[in-house]
Symmetry: C2
Subunit: 219 residues, 2 copies
């Protein structure tokens, strides 16, 4: 485990600070679908992703979901350690989207080092700013972009992430990423199929005209 891969400021920490962070860091394996963090009342700690994929999302009172961002190899999840900052007043949930290996640094340990290292505190600010930018991008999409355009963008992004043009994903799962009911997703996918952009079959969506999808997504 090379901490410098996760913290570009690693060499600005004292050897004592480095020892503290690394000695308390604990490895954990998550199965696909497993929940890692479920909101403010929990304080899992800072999560470093070694391999796999995590999904951070919020849920409405009546159970609708929307994906806020995803985390991949070498990403750091800060909000799973939200208890270390009293100003974080919102709930997110984090699940493993694939089998995932993480290393967790307990919140109190990380907070302790951050209080004595301006370099680590500033780097933590950069991580937060980066997630903030993700969420602002998403809000722009939700507020101003039409659903057909967002859905086209989502399908293309999934294809890039999975490395295939035949996606194995349910309409309900897409709805949970995008904050829309399943029926709305199904109706739009059928429209896409009529336009020749996708081919639907049980459990899969094949992207058959990516050029047209890209135009629709405004990419």
């Amino acid at each position: 485990m090379n901490f410098a891969d996760y913290f570009p400021v690693w060499d600005k920490l004292t050897s004592g600070q480095r020892d503290t962070l690394s000695s308390y860091a604990a490895a954990r394996r998550l199965k696909k679908g497993e929940n890692l963090y479920h909101g403010l009342e929990q304080c899992t700690g800072l999560i470093l992703v070694r391999s796999g994929q995590l999904r951070a999302y919020t849920v409405s009172e009546d159970g609708r979901e929307i994906t806020l961002y995803r985390l991949f190899d070498r990403d750091i999840c800060l909000f799973s350690a939200s208890c270390m900052m009293k100003s974080i007043q919102f709930h997110i949930i984090i699940d493993a989207e694939k089998d995932t290996e993480v290393v967790i640094i307990p919140s109190e340990v990380y907070k302790g080092v951050m209080e004595t290292s301006a370099a680590l505190a500033n780097y933590t600010g950069e991580i937060m700013a980066s997630r903030f930018s993700d969420v602002m991008w998403l809000m722009d999409q939700v507020l101003w972009k039409r659903f057909d355009s967002r859905l086209a963008g989502f399908l293309l992004e999934e294809a890039r992430m999975e490395g295939t043009d035949t996606l194995k994903i349910t309409h309900e799962a897409i709805g949970n990423h995008m904050g829309n009911p399943r029926e709305v997703v199904t109706r739009m996918l059928r429209y896409f199929q009529n336009e020749g952009m996708v081919k639907l079959s049980r459990g899969t969506i094949a992207l058959t005209d990516k050029k047209k999808l890209r135009e629709l997504a405004d990419e």
Copy 2:
């Protein structure tokens, strides 16, 4: 100007750091409606609000607006100094909503002190987390809440902020706060009027049944 009112960590700074921040801080007066910051290409600096009211908002490509948050006495605006953090990758605009007095600390000066003070870096993180929470609240509203409920909440909040139940605000201005076209606002306000919750006249909206508005807003 008492900086400790803005920075609870003021006494954790060295006298040199305190001198740097206060000697570069410059006072500025803004007229109601004046623009203070208009996005990433600009780097105004850290803004400390002494009196008045600022509004932070985003704009869609076709000119629609939505208010992200407001800043009052003793609030600090961080994103007007966004150039000091490379991970901030979104545009916001900040206008004075009332005649406002601010003090501005140049971004480079603030960044310099933050790089040597863990206390200031951590406090800056708390400010960002607080704005992040505001934006997450707003996203929840936009995603899951019905417009009638959001509008009722907005009217009640305005009445609290202005200290009056007779609001002087145009339907277009409300639309710009809430991310909706003027016509949608007008239609809903007429419905509220029919239900006896408000009374509309040229340029004003009187809240006539706050109990009912509170129920609708789910307060």
